[in-house]
């Protein structure tokens, strides 16, 4: 009898203890497409991870795997994280979309958050930032600053997110400088310093004195610095080590508040599938310090543009706008709807060249 009750007590204690441990630590996994030291995209996601650790302290454990190729390798890494007890997994590249959905099916109790994709499930949310809002500010500064009227643009992949950025930058550069011309190079990579540097050099040789990039390394910044009279913008991260010139401003992805909020939701047990697309207003997109290389009046205009986007009084895609082929897209005062923006696969009028098909 006594022995039995002892056992029962012991079992209860153990049960409580393990229960307490399970509740105690929420395990959050991060899958990165580049190295955490890329100084851009992955670097910012990792800063978000660190913010989660800082915010929750002992209540959370984070793990990450970097430079994971998109495809079966990503699927294996996610499965590995789920097996080892992750409660929430952030998969931070577009190409992780199908792997995320596959793994999520096998682990219905694990929550997944996929960045920049469009497929959701009961345990898969998607989130992205309205980078095109930041591109508008960039375009404005670029259009004002260029002397050769040639702006170089390093595209990563011709997907809607990147095309949106090109269109937004072009519209706002053209608005302040009707003679402006965009030269676009497709690098077909998110992160490859050598390729990015080559692309920047080619664009500079073709007369570009502004380089915009949708790739994640600082190599184009370095190339611009070497070339001399060329300005650039930090991509995904502030890249302030190249300020005040060539880097005159930047778009910073600030994932930290979102990551903290979603981790909190898992802890509170009220996590739900969401489709988040936040911009400057919510702080997911930040405009990095505009350096002194930019004239004061241009800086003021750029900040005013940023403020008008933030308070909702201005939408970067406001008509009248035509598509590249001359057909009408948005009428006077009309703004683009999210559906069109999400699947954007056309250039606006005035851009030269074709989107690779």
């Amino acid at each position: 009898m006594k022995f039995n009750s002892l056992l029962a007590t012991a079992a209860m204690v153990i049960g409580l203890a393990t229960g307490a441990v399970a509740q105690d630590k929420t395990k959050v996994g991060f899958v990165y497409v580049g190295p955490v030291g890329d100084g851009g995209w992955t670097y910012e996601h990792d800063k978000g991870r660190q913010a989660v650790e800082e915010h929750f302290g002992d209540k959370v454990e984070t793990v990450f795997v970097e430079s994971v190729p998109e495809g079966p390798d990503a699927e294996r890494v996610m499965t590995q994280m789920a097996l080892e007890g992750a409660d929430l997994i952030f998969t931070t590249s577009f190409g992780y979309m199908d792997p995320t959905i596959n793994v999520a099916k096998k682990f219905p109790n694990v929550k997944f958050e996929h960045a920049t994709g469009y497929k959701t499930a009961p345990n898969v949310s998607v989130y992205s930032a309205r980078f095109y809002e930041g591109r508008a500010v960039q375009g404005h500064i670029a259009g004002k600053m260029t002397e050769s009227n040639v702006i170089g643009y390093i595209g990563s992949y011709p997907i809607p997110e990147v095309i949106r950025g090109i269109n937004s930058a072009y519209i706002h550069a053209k608005k302040v400088n009707p003679d402006v011309q965009f030269k676009i190079v497709w690098a077909y990579t998110w992160f490859d310093p050598a390729k990015e540097a080559d692309a920047a050099k080619v664009l500079i040789e073709q007369g570009a004195d502004v380089i915009l990039q949708h790739t994640d390394s600082t190599a184009p910044q370095a190339a611009a610095q070497t070339a001399g009279n060329v300005i650039t913008f930090g991509q995904a991260s502030d890249m302030s080590e190249y300020a005040p010139k060539p880097r005159v401003s930047s778009i910073i992805d600030n994932w930290a508040p979102y990551y903290v909020a979603r981790t909190q939701a898992v802890m509170d047990g009220n996590w739900e599938t969401v489709n988040t697309w936040d911009g400057i207003a919510q702080g997911m997109v930040e405009i990095g310090e505009i350096s002194d290389a930019v004239p004061a009046d241009v800086k003021e205009e750029a900040l005013a543009l940023k403020a008008s986007i933030a308070d909702g009084s201005y939408h970067p895609f406001t008509g009248p706008l035509k598509k590249q082929d001359g057909s009408d897209w948005l009428g006077e005062g009309e703004t683009a709807d999210d559906g069109t923006l999400a699947g954007m696969n056309f250039y606006v009028e005035g851009l030269e060249g074709d989107i690779p098909q």
């Binding site: 955490v36 294996r76 590995q80 997907i159 699947g343």
Partner: protein, 360 residues
Amino acid sequence: MIVLEKRPQPSQAWSMATPLVAVLATMLFGGLLFAALGKNPVEAIRTIFWEPLFGEFAFFYRPQLLVKGAPLVLIAIGLSLGFRAGIWNIGAEGQYIMGAIFGAGAGLAFYPLEAWYIFPLMVIAGALGGWIWATIPAFLKVRFGTNEILVSLMLVYVAEQMLASVSLGLLKNPEGFGFPGSRNLQSYASAHNAEIITGSGMHWGVVAAFVAVIFAYVLLNRHMLGFHIRLTGEAPRAARFAGVNPSRLILFCLGLSGALAGLAGLFEVAGPSGQISIDFNVGYGFTAIIVAFLGRLHPVGILLAGGLMALTYIGGEIAQGSLGLPAAAIQVFQGMLLFFLLALDLLTNYRVRVARREVA
């Protein structure tokens, strides 16, 4: 004074022993590297080599070893035949891509028809795609005497551009909201290279890899053609006297290695990967070169080497996740393996002698 003395005959014993010694040296120096990064070296090495095979989640990792190792072995077997004859196909990555494009294209052409003959047709198309891509450098070498190393390597970059092109155009998923990438073949039953037994990791590509190992073994040891391959590599002049037709051998070796790489691409795209996308290729074609040499260009050796390589990949990922090792450290670790192998290869052909200093 220590001198190197050329052996009259390459040492058979050292040839067998160097891979093992190289693995041990890699463990030792890799451990030092991990220690320098502030990680427990024993724990790190144990995680990389033990965890995937016998750890808590080995039920998941063991099948993954097959998935990761199969394309490496399949490609490396093809490469080894050429390498033995001194025919250097460095462009397996491109042939792998073309196999995937041809194979997936053949399958998607039938979408949404469900029929038993679709997958076999895809297999043929995949092999054909790789064969064509490898036959280009073979033909140019035979006809114009070009260097097959350069041509096959350059064609990798051409294939990557083709991959980007079809991902964005020809094979793009019409229901993909304008995003690049084909339909997912995993959700198209007739074209899906599914696991033969669920959860085993055994898909047709793994079967093909084992078949290729056996086939290569028989070819090299029991067949006249295999003898010609070995002879050409070891004694080209003797081979010519023995009536070996070098042109035919070049076409055969490059074509076969291309076809096998193409098959690897097809099995990957129809199975574990599921779709053609811009980033479909992850370097199997290049890693297979390491596997071929690590396996001493011997079919059974390649099988073991492929397994070992897969182990370092999967164990490396676990070490990243659970120990926080940086990805670059894992890559250095893998690089060490080849480095030590090549360095120790010296001992196959040379012997170390402690000699007395002589007056010149």
